[in-house]
């Protein structure tokens, strides 16, 4: 059924199911890309709604599967030994009452537990990983004359961390050395935003390259992609220029 195996090996003898997967996945891909034309069009609306609906369906099924296999099966197999899980299950069910107008207040109990646990679990650990270890990693040797390059880099890290931190001081008026420090921090932030932009760009480009690889290789995909892309592009141009009223009706 899944066309990936065939595509990877350059197999041209694809069954109808695999071809349908390739065709539909190409259609949804170019449907979403169609927004790049700058025209609100029915292909984008179709792709967007199909994707959202499918994603919700999938999430529900996977969560349901987990509840059945890791909770219900355990409870059913030995209820007396797994009584704490019964309480967990009841708390889970109470969560569903969130949508009931009369009993929605009961859902606040599991929400309170989840919030309390979530915040406490993350706080107790991030005190170390997000604060103490980060401060420790910033306390670096800056007077190592045997390795001046490393000493310089260490000095720069210390300077950047301190100056950028002072830039985020909002509780007091910045005067004198604090103002100078904040100014340096501001400039350092601009340069680092540039670097972070480039890193983010690399990531998004990586995603696009992967998507294009699926669309172009092997030849069957390439042909389907060209046909689908041209069909959508021509339809959008025709609708926009010759049937603008129809186009308006077709988009939500």
């Amino acid at each position: 059924m899944d066309g990936r195996e065939g595509r990877r090996r350059g197999d041209v003898n694809l069954d109808i199911g695999s071809l349908m997967v390739i065709l539909l996945s190409t259609a949804i891909t170019f449907g979403l890309f169609s927004i790049l034309t700058g025209v609100d069009n029915p292909f984008f609306a179709w792709a967007e709604n199909i994707y959202v609906g499918g994603a919700v369906g999938m999430t529900i099924v996977v969560s349901f599967t987990w509840i059945v296999s890791n909770l219900i099966q355990k409870i059913v197999s030995n209820p007396s030994a797994n009584w704490p899980l019964i309480i967990s299950f009841i708390l889970g069910l109470m969560m569903l009452l969130r949508v009931h107008p009369k009993y929605s207040y009961l859902a606040r109990i599991p929400i309170s537990i989840a919030t309390g646990v979530g915040v406490a679990v993350s706080t107790r650990a991030i005190i170390f990983s997000g604060l103490l270890y980060q401060i420790r990693a910033t306390i670096l040797p800056i007077f190592d004359w045997r390795d001046p390059a490393t000493a310089f880099t260490n000095l720069m890290i210390v300077v950047f961390v301190i100056t950028i931190l002072t830039f985020f001081v909002y509780t007091t008026e910045l005067k004198g050395p604090l103002k100078v420090s904040s100014g340096i921090g501001r400039l350092a932030l601009f340069a680092s935003f540039g670097a972070l932009f480039a890193q983010t760009y690399m990531g998004r480009l990586g995603l696009f390259l992967g998507r294009m690889e699926t669309l172009l290789i092997p030849e069957t995909n390439f042909k389907i992609s060209v046909i689908v892309a041209l069909f959508m592009l021509i339809t959008i141009i025709v609708l926009k220029n010759y049937y603008p009223e129809t186009l308006k009706k077709l988009v939500p």
Partner: protein
């Protein structure tokens, strides 16, 4: 000349969109094969995996959903087989994303083959390692960070008795001496949603478990910070890092091939910025002054 500046200043964004499509398409179909330098952090990640000993237990987290798969697959398809190539190493697959099990299966299908007499998951053999003998797949546990915390807190209780496919794994865990989080020797987290920070918080901080991290570009800053602080053993950043790992481990793949297209588009971006600046100084700024 001023006309040219005006054109530069007012290039329609769709021109860049179209150029991106054309350049990526042509370079992907006709790669050049540019040389590649390997960064120290990728080399470190490679060395950590290469030094795995027989009996070591590796937990591989697929923090992967479709939105990041295309970017992270280069790392997955080179780091995972590298782990499997190490003799006597035991592996546990896990995912904190609801779509993650699909990508675990894709990875296994790509690097392994069905065990003799079987034709479906989970019965696959990877580098001679067989399912339920050398590796297991515990699949998806909901809750994301809470799932990672729960595994650290009560590993056996959270994993339960069965794998993702309903097979009993208690004996496998007992045979390999896996009772709690302390028995995991290495974690490889392939991140699309920045799970490394939770592995660091819930596994490295209390148990000092060694963690390797491959991630998408957006999550890179957080990983670099933790790598610099010594909480991550090695990092593989985005498609570029994946290409370097593929080159080092000799598990060649699309990440390496797509480096040409990657270069071309990054250069196109630089040229786009340059043209924007020429247009700004030659036309826009003059208009502003007037």
């Amino acid at each position: 000349m001023s006309n040219l500046f005006k054109i530069f200043a007012s290039i329609d964004r769709r021109v860049w969109h179209l150029l991106t499509f054309i350049l990526v398409g042509t370079t992907l179909l006709r790669p050049i094969g540019l040389p590649l330098k390997v960064s120290p952090e990728v080399k470190k990640a490679y060395e950590v995996i290469d030094s795995l000993k027989s009996g070591d237990v590796v937990l591989i987290n697929f923090d992967i959903a479709a939105f990041g798969w295309d970017e992270i697959k280069g790392s997955a398809l080179s780091m995972v087989p590298h782990i499997f190539s190490k003799e006597g190493v035991k592996v546990i697959f896990f995912t904190d994303q609801d779509q993650g099990y699909i990508f675990i299966e894709r990875t296994i299908a790509e690097i392994g083959r069905p065990m003799p007499g079987y034709d479906r998951f989970p019965w696959y053999e990877i580098h001679g390692k067989k399912y339920l003998q050398d590796y297991i797949n515990i699949g998806f546990i909901p809750g994301f960070d809470k799932a990672i915390a729960a595994l650290a807190q009560d590993f056996r209780g959270t994993v339960g008795r069965n794998d993702w496919y309903g097979n009993n794994i208690e004996k496998w865990l007992d045979d390999n001496g896996i009772k709690s989080a302390k028995d995991i020797d290495l974690i490889l987290t392939l991140d699309c949603a920045g799970a490394q920070s939770y592995w660091v918080s819930y596994w490295y901080i209390p148990y000092k478990t060694r963690i390797l991290n491959a991630m998408i570009g957006v999550s890179a800053p957080g990983s670099i910070v933790n790598y610099n602080a010594g909480m991550l053993e090695g990092i593989v950043i985005s498609i570029r890092g994946a290409a370097e790992y593929q080159y080092l481990s000799k598990y060649y793949g699309m990440a390496l091939v797509s480096m040409d297209a990657f270069s071309i588009i990054q250069f196109m971006l630089i040229i786009a910025i340059l043209i924007g600046n020429i247009g700004y100084y030659g036309w826009e700024r003059r208009q502003e002054k007037r």
